[in-house]
């Protein structure tokens, strides 16, 4: 449903569509340049996507400084460089319709360059300046800080963001994943330009960096560009990323009263570490469980428009269940029953086979854009220390069998940390915090999932 009016400006240029001939992919490769790993995927098209990744994410700062990495990465393009004021920098970019954008994440942050290949020679020096000689001009910094604070309030106004934040803060209390990369109003308000600049200087090391290029560029050219980029960047200390296994101590429940038009529920439970033998099997399990939840919660019981199941396979892997519903207690009974049933009966070989077929489609779907490929290569390198996985995941998934899928589900989907925002008079906390087996629905209220 297109509820909000969105601009549709997708039009095609006569005689300039992508040529099937050049679409043939050349092989991806990596190389070390000045001690920085560079992963290159030739794209076969005229778009250039380059990511510079800074490893660590929320591990890089304490909770009272949450938001500092986001502000630092934003400042690279919004607070000027030694060669250009903010306006001069942005005006040069817009003349060639080039996007340089920073994103702060849970496990790593990125500065992305997206341009048309004929504009790269003009775009690259600006990208290099942003990364290596940003100036953190104090008046521009005040402006972006105000924008960041308004952005936090705007995020908090969105119910899906709010329930997700509340859920992570509750489940990961005291741990790195309780921090939000965009920070809190109080932490962002206290940050100064000098402190943020010093922070950026501390993470701008070759040891933290990874560069991903998805573009049709000669190897020599990429090597030269990265050499220039990294020439002045210090080596820095070797980075060891911390991994944490989240295991809820038992079922739990927390609620917040909120005047929303429906009620929001999110549960968090465990998941396997990237690189573990169960990772791919668990991904398939959650793919199938998504369909099962959809069938039970939406189709059979009409309880929610968009029941979600998601596996976040980062440095702290976890799994979420999320719904919006006017009947929260009905939902918890249906989902608990479904989890119990899946534990008892497992997934069928046919479900596993179909899920693998779906992964083939998703695999190629992701290959359609340079941006999605670059993100996947970066995430696989950071989380698995193996960017090749991004290109062979299709084959890896074919090797997974039903028994492994069932075992992975049983190992990781047990207790759940539930949170709720909405009309608190409509929810019975005891149903959420009790053992699932004590909340059984009559058998006629639950179907056989996809087995019919």
């Amino acid at each position: 449903m297109q509820t909000f009016i969105k601009k549709i400006t997708g039009f095609m240029l006569l005689g300039a569509s992508i040529s099937p001939v050049v679409a043939q992919k050349k092989t991806a490769y990596d190389m070390m340049v000045n001690g920085v790993k560079v992963i290159v995927q030739p794209s076969g098209n005229e778009i250039v996507q380059i990511l510079t990744v800074f490893k660590g994410g929320v591990q890089n700062y304490s909770a009272d400084k949450a938001g500092i990495e986001n502000l630092a990465i934003t400042a690279l393009t919004e607070c000027g460089t030694k060669n250009d004021s903010k306006n001069s920098f942005k005006n040069k970019l817009e003349k060639i319709s080039t996007e340089i954008e920073g994103t702060a994440g849970m496990d790593f942050s990125t500065l992305t360059l997206n341009c048309i290949n004929t504009d790269l020679d003009q775009a690259w020096p600006l990208y290099e300046d942003a990364l290596t000689i940003p100036v953190f001009d104090s008046s521009e910094f005040s402006r972006i800080k105000q924008v960041a604070i308004t952005g936090l309030k705007s995020q908090a106004s969105r119910p899906d963001f709010a329930i997700s934040k509340f859920s992570k803060e509750t489940a990961f209390k005291g741990k790195d994943y309780a921090k939000s990369p965009t920070g809190e109003e109080v932490t962002v308000s206290s940050l100064s330009a000098t402190e943020t600049k010093n922070y950026y200087t501390s993470i701008l090391t070759r040891s933290r960096m990874l560069i991903v290029v998805v573009a049709e560029l000669e190897r020599d050219k990429i090597e030269k560009m990265v050499k220039e980029l990294t020439a002045s960047v210090p080596e820095g200390k070797k980075i060891e990323l911390k991994r944490y296994n989240y295991i809820p101590a038992g079922n739990s429940f927390a609620e917040q009263k909120k005047a929303v038009a429906t009620n929001y529920i999110q549960g968090i439970t465990s998941g396997p570490q990237p690189g573990s033998t169960e990772y791919n099997a668990f991904s398939i399990a959650m793919d199938i469980f998504y369909d099962r939840q959809y069938l039970e919660v939406r189709v059979h019981n009409g309880l929610s428009y968009a029941p979600q199941v998601g596996f976040s396979g980062g440095l702290t892997p976890y799994t979420i269940f999320r719904v919006s519903t006017t009947k929260p207690d009905n939902y918890i009974q249906v989902i608990n029953k479904l989890v119990d049933k899946t534990h008892a009966e497992g997934f069928s070989p046919e479900e596993v086979k179909n899920s693998k077929t779906g992964y083939v489609t998703k695999f190629y779907y992701r290959m359609e854009t340079n941006a999605a490929q670059a993100s996947s290569l970066a995430a696989n390198e950071i989380l698995f220390n193996d960017w090749h996985r991004s290109l062979r995941i299709n084959e890896d998934f074919k090797k997974v069998n039903t028994e492994e899928v069932n075992k992975a589900f049983n190992n990781y989907v047990k207790d759940v940390n539930w949170v709720y925002q909405g009309d608190t008079s409509k929810v019975n906390p005891a149903l959420y915090s009790a053992e699932p087996s004590k909340n059984k629905l009559p058998d006629n209220k639950i179907s056989n999932g996809n087995k019919n």
């Binding site: 297109q2 992508i18 099937p20 009409g302 998703k362």
Partner: protein, 441 residues
């Protein structure tokens, strides 16, 4: 190939109109070994009066429920899983579309599946009873978002008694009392090949894809009438006067403002729709007076000015997140800027040139993803034409300063508009937002 006029299309696009009136477009692109199929119907909010508001959307949901070959949703879902399909549908103001992406070798099976769902749906009371709260739940999710609440309030005022024609999500009561009979009314009015377009894109060959489309969809019976002629769309009345309003919501952590005008459409003023796009691209430039006055000076943290291309009066919208500490300055400066939009010196020749370059480069980016090309094409087919889509960049290049002035003077300068703000009660009291948010004297 029928004896119909050939639409102008980009390279690697192939068009055919079947004898039953179904237009078929094949887009060859073998970047990845996938095929995407999409069928779009000229249906949606624009066809809905207050008795049917929200039912094009419910109809779209019911498409995924049951049909003669897959008689319940479990079987429907299982079939999509066997195909490994990524699928969805959407309902907009002027288009309802359904799209599937799967392995290229599954094209025939995918088309058969689509055919069953679009032509032979089954509506059961029990299925509808279960789906109604789902659709209503989608509505409630939107209502939990203050931005939507403000959007909806503005929309009602902008479109007046015909607001249902721009309100695809509908009216709770209409959704909650929908019946199978009402679904059949929609099907019998709009779901015909001569009111639809089929697009097949991806790693396919057009000769083979056309052959399959003819074989599978060739027997779909045409209506014998043009639905949009038989069930005419009433014209929107021009907005009579400017109106400001402030809404309070405890959910709105920071104020949001929207300003709406009735803009051009592709029936009456196609050139105006292109001028609007070029002008709003100029406003997006960092160097523009608009961005410099509002963002660069810290009066707002975000500001988006857009026009939506539609066949029946496209809306012009400014959405702004003002700096809460500078509400009055922001409001005054924004109105000051809008007053100048029609001035000769509001933008430079270089900015006009840069905007056109941006439109070209964005077009390259939009062509990147093969599976999205079908939806881009059907949107144009429903709200403008295939020629409009094909010639779009060329026509943007032709836009002059005079064209933009004409657009601004015809639709914005001195014209009535709707201005709304949503803010939480405490902030409203503290900042006196209701006292500040008003037209300049």
């Amino acid at each position: 190939m029928g004896s119909f006029a050939q639409a102008r299309l980009p390279e690697n696009y192939y068009w055919e109109k079947l004898p039953n009136g179904l237009e078929v477009v094949i887009i060859e692109n073998d970047k990845v070994p996938l095929a995407t199929i999409e069928i779009a119907v000229k249906n949606g909010a624009f066809t809905e009066d207050s008795n049917y508001n929200g039912l094009s959307h419910l109809f779209e949901h019911m498409f995924f429920k049951a049909n003669k070959d897959y008689p319940d949703q479990e079987k429907f879902q299982k079939r999509t899983q066997e195909l490994g399909a990524i699928l969805n549908g959407s309902t907009g103001d002027e288009r309802v579309n359904y799209f599937f992406t799967f392995d290229k070798d599954s094209l025939n099976q995918g088309l058969e599946f689509l055919n069953s769902a679009i032509r032979f749906p089954i509506y059961r009371t029990e299925d509808m009873q279960k789906e109604r709260p789902v659709v209503d739940g989608e509505f409630q999710r939107a209502e939990s978002n203050p931005e939507y609440v403000l959007y909806f309030a503005c929309s009602k005022k902008l479109w007046g008694s015909l607001y249902t024609r721009k309100n695809g999500i509908g009216i709770h009561e209409v959704i909650n009392t929908a019946t199978p009979e009402k679904m059949m009314v929609i099907k019998n009015k709009y779901y015909y090949p001569n009111n639809s377009i089929l697009v097949i894109c991806g790693d396919v060959k057009h000769e083979n894809a056309f052959a399959q489309a003819r074989k599978i969809f060739g027997s779909w019976e045409r209506s014998g009438f043009d639905p949009i002629t038989k069930y005419p769309i009433p014209e929107f009345s021009p907005l009579a006067s400017t109106e400001y309003f402030v809404m309070e919501s405890t959910l709105a952590q920071t104020p949001v403002e929207m300003f709406w005008w009735q803009g051009p459409d592709t029936r009456m003023d196609s050139a105006g729709t292109i001028a609007a796009d070029v002008f709003f691209t100029i406003l997006e430039l960092n160097s523009s007076k608009w961005q410099q006055a509002l963002l660069d000076k810290g009066l707002a943290s975000s500001i988006d000015a857009t026009y939506v291309t539609e066949r029946y009066v496209g809306p012009i919208n400014i959405e702004i997140e003002p700096n809460p500490g500078k509400l009055k300055e922001c409001n005054d400066e924004m109105l000051n800027q809008i007053k100048q939009w029609g001035n000769d010196d509001y933008f430079t020749d270089e900015q006009l040139k840069n905007a056109k370059e941006i439109i070209h480069r964005n077009a390259i980016r939009k062509r990147e993803k093969p599976s999205s090309q079908a939806s881009i094409l059907t949107k144009s087919w429903c709200s403008s034409s295939l020629d409009y889509m094909t010639d779009y960049e060329k026509n943007c290049d032709k836009i002059t300063r005079e064209d933009i002035k004409l657009f601004v003077n015809k639709y914005i300068t001195g014209k009535p508009y709707i201005a709304g703000m949503i803010i939480n009660p405490d902030m409203n009291k503290k900042l006196n937002a209701s006292g500040i948010f008003k037209p300049a004297i």
